[in-house]
């Protein structure tokens, strides 16, 4: 049929423009060549592995008080030494990872779910709905996140659950804003207009067209928020408002180590290192993901 020969190239390949950026030969292969991503992924995996491992095994005991063994330096029995109550530092670090991850995951989960929904609704509805949602977000932003989290936990009681809720609440406007901005850009595209011309409802367009196209941005933001959540949890626990004893937490380990700075300086180093490496890993992961995911979404032209 003449129409077929019109399109079929003389050579069996479909054309692209002269110097198109190369299509990725598989996300995996590109990812493995990206330094930030690999390092970030390694550190994050380490963090998750530590937490998971702690459910099955710890080198010593994170909970057992043993005053005879207090403030020991690292030895074959206690790899990183013991704290003022004779508890094994290494074990505390492993178990403390659980708290960090739990808070990070759930708080960011809350922020992501509610924030994205609000942002999508704002972009789909426009008008006064959008105004209200964005002003609420602005209002929440006006409160310094950490101080408000402190205030909330101080009012409603200290503990991991309240810490999670507090941090989660302050994640919502971040996601709402970034979702709305990205979604607005997608709503302006021609393929959304084409979907409207087919008669698709706004909610169908949001789910089928908008959300898949902004997913990359959200994933990157989520990893960054995760890092911030870990820091926030550490800060709250340091102040005694987050994870409560006997559940180990890196932040609380830091505050306990503070008074013993001159007697056992290493006590502060281990949890500090753990926090720093986790946050670094997640930030690198987020950076790497942004590089790997975003260029695919921008137009080839």
């Amino acid at each position: 049929m003449s129409r077929q020969t019109d399109t079929r190239a003389s050579v069996p390949n479909y054309p692209t423009r002269a110097f198109t950026r190369a299509q990725p030969q598989g996300f995996g292969r590109r990812a493995l060549q990206h330094r930030s991503f690999v390092l970030g992924a390694l550190l994050t995996t380490l963090l998750i592995a530590a937490a998971l491992l702690s459910f099955a095994w710890t080198p010593g005991s994170a909970y057992e008080v043993d005053m005879d063994a207090a403030l020991q330096a690292s030895s074959s029995r206690h790899w990183l030494g013991t704290d003022a109550f004779g508890r094994d530092i290494a074990s505390q670090i492993l178990v403390g990872a659980r708290a960090s991850i739990a808070v990070g995951l759930i708080a960011v989960g809350i922020g992501l779910t509610l924030g994205v929904v609000l942002g999508l609704v704002a972009a789909a509805r426009r008008g006064w709905v959008e105004e209200i949602i964005m002003r609420l977000a602005d209002f929440t932003f006006a409160f310094p996140a950490l101080l408000s989290a402190i205030m909330l936990t101080a009012v409603f009681g200290a503990g991991m659950i309240n810490a999670i809720i507090a941090i989660g609440i302050f994640n919502i406007p971040t996601f709402a804003r970034i979702t709305r901005a990205s979604a607005n850009a997608i709503w302006a595209r021609d393929y959304v207009l084409a979907a409207r011309a087919c008669g698709k409802s706004r909610s169908a367009i949001t789910l089928q067209h908008v959300l898949p196209n902004i997913a990359a941005v959200l994933v990157v933001q989520a990893t960054i928020q995760f890092a911030l959540a870990i820091l926030a949890e550490a800060a709250l626990s340091y102040l005694g408002l987050g994870t409560q004893p006997p559940q180990p937490s890196w932040g609380r380990m830091l505050s306990e180590a503070q008074t013993l700075m001159f007697q056992a300086p290493l006590l502060a180093v281990w949890p500090g290192l753990a926090i720093a490496l986790s946050v670094l890993g997640l930030n690198l992961l987020g950076d790497g993901l942004r590089d790997l995911l975003d260029p695919r979404l921008t137009r080839e032209r």
């Binding site: 049929m1 021609d190 979907a195 008669g199 898949p212």
Partner: protein, 276 residues
Amino acid sequence: MNEPAETSEAGTSSAILLRVSGLKRAYSRPRTSLWRKPEPLQALRGVSFELQGGQSLGVVGESGSGKSTLARLVMALDRPSEGRVELLGRNLHLLSEQELRAARRDFQMVFQDPYGSLDPRMTVEAIVSEPLGTTHEKLSRPARRQQVLSVLDQVGLRAQDADKYPHEFSGGQRQRIAIARALITRPRLIVADEPVSALDVSVQAQVLNLMQDLQRELGLSYLFISHDLAVVQHVCDQVIVLHQGEVVERGTPRKLFSAPEHPYTQALVKAAPRVI
């Protein structure tokens, strides 16, 4: 209820397919002063025309003429400030949401930008079958795929292309996919907003030929919007010239371009760069 529109071969009913009367659209501009409301922008100032079944109408205009606004109003993607758009005798903007959704099977649109009008995250099959989801009752997956394959064949693409993604195709092929999407519900009217402007000359010719063939085979009508007179002349029986929201001249392409009466039309014809 809505009877399925009959599509016959070449030479369809001479009934009026699309009638636009006194169409006006004004947009409010952003405020520049806290005290005074800004002057609204008159994108369309009263446009009227008729399109018969099986015929094609060209709309020629430059930027600021209101042609894109006209396209959106005819496609019922926007509400007019005044005036009527009647398709097959029914005023589109007075239909309920449900009736409008069902009516959309009769009119579809092809956009200018082959790179922006296809969702990069959807397969060709999903893109092309999108209109089926809303205008037709639930079709089974195999039946849907069958329709997609048949319409892909009509536009000169292959069956394997249904599972590929837009970035694997060139501009001309993407435009074919867009045309396939517009065809799948067997519409009577296709509104084409600068469908070939972003394409190379030789690719443009292929797509124009395709549109001509489809018009003949399926009894389609086009509302063909373009800034390029020669392209419009090629596909359309009648042409209207839009300038700053108004129709300044109308007629057959040949007459309009060989003996333009309105000064704007004359300027347009004169400015088109000609090969010796």
